[in-house]
């Protein structure tokens, strides 16, 4: 039994991927030296937004789970970072990674709770869970109650050194999360997840372990949200329960994923940049900022149901996850196979 010729992606994907690599290289090697020191933390926020959007997209766009409660894990990540860095004394980079791990671990038992709910009930249920996390955090001893915690691990560190470290570390994490998501969705597991999203019953009939797949997505997505939360706390040097557990984080994730393009790797990148630009330029306008955000979201949903990425790129993929199969050419030369 001989197989087909399978291609994944096109020459365009290679060129686009190269361009993206160049952008990352510029962000790493040039940008920190040409912008002001004050601009770096806002770029860190952009990287955190990319992580948030990417992981929410993993949940909703690939797992079919619309959660309104991912701020639960943003909060867990933020608090875990400060506790690990200050109380335990872990180096900040290790504390961030461990905070992501803790978010993932907490998501395991939580998944058994929220997976009992379907559709709209799942959405509301996850929000309730996030509120419970916030209330428990405020009641717990040593977590600062309603006023939160400040990060003290950086005291005595030079400001330039601190900001530069956080910037590079956040950039590396963002690249790792996007790349990890891409590799996951390109793999066999990713194919199974896409099948689950499109038709859960048919997927199980073809041998896809539906419950395990959804749990994997939920845990991975929550670990990602916790990583972002830890980065945000590292960037702002503190957390308060009101802000780090704010439902606004999830609102931002939804905006980023839906406006950018649900179910694509590229969409959340586009969405995060748009959200961040709007945030930067409209912040002085106060409430009007929210009005504009809402108007943009409505316009995109109505005019470009596949999101901005779908509108701009059609079916083109920078991160090719699809397969194209053709009969094997028996005679003559076989064209080189880009992508694999």
């Amino acid at each position: 039994m001989s197989g087909p010729d399978v291609t994944r992606g096109s020459r365009g994907s290679l060129i686009g991927g190269g361009a993206l690599l160049l952008v990352v290289a510029l962000l790493a090697a040039v940008v920190p030296y040409v912008v002001t020191l004050g601009a770096l933390p806002s770029l860190v926020m952009l990287f955190a937004l990319v992580i948030l959007g990417t992981t929410w997209n993993l949940l909703a766009g690939y797992g079919g789970m619309v959660s309104v409660g991912q701020q639960a894990y943003v909060g867990v990540g933020g608090y875990a970072l400060i506790q690990l860095a200050d109380a335990v004394g872990a180096p900040p980079w290790a504390a961030v990674l461990a905070a992501g791990l803790i978010g993932g671990l907490i998501a395991v038992p939580t998944s058994y709770l929220v997976f009992r709910l379907a559709g709209g009930y799942f959405a509301i249920g996850t929000w309730v869970v996030a509120e419970v996390f916030r209330l428990v955090t405020m009641q717990a001893d040593g977590l600062g109650g309603g006023s939160g915690l400040s990060l003290t691990a950086f005291r005595g560190t030079d400001r330039v050194e601190r900001v530069a470290f956080v910037y590079w570390f956040a950039l590396a994490l963002m690249v790792a999360v996007v790349l990890g998501t891409y590799l996951l969705m390109r793999s066999r597991v990713g194919l199974g997840l896409t099948a689950i999203r499109d038709d859960r019953v048919a997927a199980s009939s073809l041998g896809v372990a539906v419950d395990r797949g959804r749990r994997l997505v939920y845990v991975a997505g929550s670990a990602g949200a916790a990583l972002a939360g830890a980065l945000i706390a590292l960037n702002t040097l503190g957390v308060t329960p009101g802000s780090i557990y704010s439902v606004n984080w999830t609102a931002a994730m939804i905006f980023i994923a839906v406006v950018g393009g649900l179910g694509t790797i590229e969409g959340p990148l586009v969405g995060a940049i748009l959200y961040w630009v709007l945030q930067q330029t409209l912040a002085p306008l106060g409430t009007w900022y929210l009005v504009v955000l809402g108007a943009v979201a409505v316009a995109v949903v109505l005019l470009a149901p596949r999101g901005l990425w779908g509108l701009l790129a059609g079916r083109f993929q920078l991160f090719p996850t699809t397969y194209r199969a053709h009969p094997v050419v028996v005679s003559g030369t076989v064209a080189p196979q880009p992508g694999r």
Binding site: M1, V201, A202, S205, L206, G207, V208, R324
Partner: protein, 261 residues
């Protein structure tokens, strides 16, 4: 030992009985036709064999192993594949990707470095058997009915099944399209795959099956040689409804098959 043994299976939804003490066997490589009026419980029975629904009582035994408590995915891994009456393609995926899901999960026979090569070849082979290689890169959401039905079969086939459960794959097709589907099923049966086939298009069914089982109101009323079963007075009664004594409420009530459409 038969490949599939269904023993004393019972299932009810509220007051509607869709299976009552249903027992039958299917030998390896045998094709069994499943007929009966709408609401007789045919699709429910297929669901129970495939593991998409749990029976209230009774056992499902596959190749000597009791699989009653296993879920659909685990049974698919043991060689049970099914098609759905209303096709359920993964609409965002292409035809090839749809089939690849079956080949890389339930149909995964190899592990390690060569696994994905084997899965790809297996998926392609299923498309070849179903005559769908031309449409390999078409988004499955845009297929016409005949191709959706063929994709259902191709996808099931890609799992490398020992038992194939087909739910009305000929329904809704034109007379000119029927022979393609019939010859596909016959080809599979001749390849040694056991088939359980629900079909209202009787002449298509009788062309292929070795044995026929007739269900009415959740009970087996006849099984055996296809032509004898069709001619038996009990079967004529339930189909023509002359002197049938209803075993359930006079009101028609929801039927598992009607609800699925």
């Amino acid at each position: 030992m038969p490949l599939l043994q269904v023993a004393g299976v019972a299932k009810r939804f509220g007051r509607v009985v869709t299976a009552r003490d249903v027992s039958f066997d299917v030998a390896a490589g045998e094709a069994l036709g499943l007929v009966g009026p709408n609401g007789a419980g045919k699709t429910t029975l297929l669901d129970i064999v495939a593991g998409t629904q749990r029976a209230d009582a009774g056992r499902v035994v596959l190749d000597g192993h009791d699989v009653t408590r296993l879920g659909a995915a685990a049974r698919a891994g043991r060689g049970v594949a099914r098609s759905y009456q209303v096709p359920r393609p993964f609409a965002e995926l292409t035809v090839y990707e749809n089939v690849l899901v079956g080949a890389s999960f339930a149909g995964r026979k190899h592990t390690g470095r060569t696994a994905s090569r084997h899965s790809r070849a297996q998926a392609w082979h299923a498309l070849e058997v179903a005559g769908m290689t031309e449409a390999a890169n078409t988004p499955s959401g845009s297929l016409r009915l005949l191709d959706r039905k063929r994709l259902e079969v191709a996808r099931a086939l890609a799992t490398g099944p020992r038992l194939l459960l087909l739910d009305e794959i000929a329904g809704g097709l034109s007379e000119s399209e029927l022979p393609q589907i019939v010859s596909l099923v016959r080809h599979l049966r001749d390849d040694g795959v056991a088939v359980v086939w629900i079909e209202h298009v009787l002449h298509a069914l009788l062309d292929v099956v070795d044995r026929l089982l007739c269900l009415a109101a959740g009970e087996v009323i006849a099984q055996g040689d296809p032509h004898e079963v069709i001619r038996s007075p009990e079967v004529a009664e339930v189909y023509l409804g002359s002197t049938v004594e209803s075993t359930r409420d006079p009101s028609p009530g929801p039927t598992s098959e009607g609800e699925r459409a």
